[in-house]
């Protein structure tokens, strides 16, 4: 592996840039993700940085059960994110669609639309659970290097 590749892998693991995408959720997971970036839990001290555009991100944080209206936008955002990219499905409805299974506009979870690397269940998952999930993903990536 070349020096540059090792460097980019190292920076991706040490400071993942994340994109937060709400695919039709109730907002519970979204405010817990933001709470994770706020002073009490402060995920930013681990190098996690919230970015505005998919083109700058390593990790897409997806919440929500993926409504029919947003599904194509989610796919587009996923395609716009450069490789290597990782997707974290945050929350129970992102993981499996519950409690909206049986509702006519719900797709049933993020993995029905894009491939998912890490699931963080919870309704909503606490910020601590969310940071733990991100840390697990990074440990997995580090193992891959």
């Amino acid at each position: 592996m070349s020096v540059l590749t090792r460097l980019s892998n190292w920076s991706r693991v040490k400071s993942p840039w994340v994109l937060h995408f709400n695919a039709g959720g109730c907002n519970g997971c979204d405010i817990e993700i933001l709470a994770a970036l706020m002073p009490r839990f402060d995920a930013e001290r681990f190098g996690v940085l919230l970015k505005a555009t998919p083109r700058h991100t390593d990790v897409i944080l997806c919440t929500g059960c993926v409504t029919k209206q947003i599904a194509s936008r989610l796919k587009r955002v996923y395609d716009q994110t450069p490789d290597p990219k990782f997707v974290i499905a945050v929350g129970t409805c992102a993981t499996g669609g519950a409690p909206f299974n049986g509702c006519y506009c719900s797709s049933g979870g993020i993995d029905k639309v894009i491939p998912v690397d890490m699931y963080i269940p919870g309704c909503p998952p606490r910020p601590d659970a969310f940071i733990y999930g991100v840390a697990q993903l990074l440990a997995k990536l580090q193992g891959k290097k």
Binding site: T67, K68, Q69, N101, G102, C103, Y104, G108
Partner: protein, 148 residues
Amino acid sequence: MTETELQARITERWGAKAAFTLARPRRVFVSVAVGELKPVMRWLKSDLGFYHISTITGLDSGENFEVLYHLHDGTIELTLRTAVPRANPHIPTVTDIIPGAILYERELQDMFGLVVDDIPDPRRYVLPEDWPQGVYPLRKDYKVNAGN
């Protein structure tokens, strides 16, 4: 105004055209035929101060669609109820009386397939762009597919 005074004013002005029911304190239901809907609503707003429409509920009652306009004057919640036949589900717009009703009427069109006559903006509102035309999710004959 108390509920008793409200009942007296409505009965005096509209008689049998507006059937008044008191469900409980601050909850009043008034049933009218669809032809009387706008005159009654206009009078409720101008003469009695029912200026605010909270929402419009649609109900699928089989032969008819019932449409409930939830109005309030700040204290009493007055639901103005009318019905249109399923075979001819046309209802007049009330946005010329209360402009804030526009989004609720658009939602009625999406969800029940009611046709709101003279609606200023008839575009689809809440349903996805690729939702098939002619499929109305809140009608009782629409069944959600399992594992949808």
